[in-house]
Symmetry: C2
Subunit: 177 residues, 2 copies
């Protein structure tokens, strides 16, 4: 792995570590991925990571952010597709990261930074869903509760065994006026 020389490389190196961590977190899970493992995959010593990130939770927040940004970019390219198709795409993407979803919920109270990220993430998602329901013509003052139900249901689908057929029925139930 390319050695670091000067300040210009700092952001680049950070990104390298984040990418490695993302792969490992998604494949093996957060707890199962040790700092040594991430470091080894980057050709550095375990404690070197602490020069780039405060702790493991800050690294997690960065991984989550990178993942969210890249997925959001793709999502907004689907503007022409139907709501149902876009929603099932979102669920598919989240399913890939479902281990991390559970980890975030389990570690919320241990890390203020993670808690903040979680709040912001929900804020963004809820804004998008609010807009979708508005476009569908749902009664404006019933939208907030409907949005919460939709968000929580999506999370539930991620963390529980649900057949394709069940998932389709559930999505239909969420977006019927």
């Amino acid at each position: 792995m390319a050695r670091n020389k000067r300040q210009q490389d700092r952001e680049e190196k950070r990104k390298e570590i984040i990418t490695t961590a993302r792969t490992l977190f998604l494949n093996e899970g957060y707890d199962a991925t040790s700092m040594s493992r991430i470091a080894a995959a980057n050709g550095i010593a375990a404690n070197t990571i602490y020069w780039y990130f405060k702790d493991k939770d800050e690294l997690l927040v960065n991984v989550l952010n990178e993942q969210m940004i890249s997925r959001a970019a793709e999502y907004f390219l689907m503007k022409d597709k139907g709501i149902v198709e876009r929603l099932s795409w979102v669920i598919d993407q989240l399913k890939i990261a479902y281990q991390l979803v559970a980890t975030v919920h389990a570690r919320l109270h241990l890390s203020p930074e993670l808690n903040l990220w979680h709040e912001r993430f929900h804020h963004i998602v809820e804004n998008v869903l609010h807009e979708e329901l508005k476009l569908l013509g749902v009664d404006e003052n019933k939208i907030p509760a409907r949005v919460k139900v939709a968000v929580f249901t999506i999370e539930g689908i991620l963390s529980h065994p649900v057949t394709e057929h069940e998932q389709a029925e559930i999505c239909q139930a969420l977006f019927s006026v």
Copy 2:
């Protein structure tokens, strides 16, 4: 703490350890509660716990079971109350244990025993909810999807900041025919 003498005490001692673990898991969380901590609270050495339980996950399953059984007993004493009141009681009880809910979801794939418990738990809860929706007169073949949405929404309420007002609106949305 009372020393153990013969086989008759085994179940009793197991219960003692489970009770201690339950208190600590609920107050401090699963990860934050070490085996040493549980052992110390029971006046025994850390490794002694392994004579009563295979590992920490088996202890967790027993804690969850005990909690579920005691809560279920109370629930069925509320038969005369309305559905909304009973549901909000269930949510309150689950909120007390919300840390464990997140832990269960995060550890599902690490422990087959925990996974099995989780499946059984959902089976029980879904049966109860199915019955409730049936009594409300919901269209029979729309019930399964509605049950899933209700279960996932309840879990969402547990793990996210939701105001009393929002919660009331959400519950109303779930049980409107």
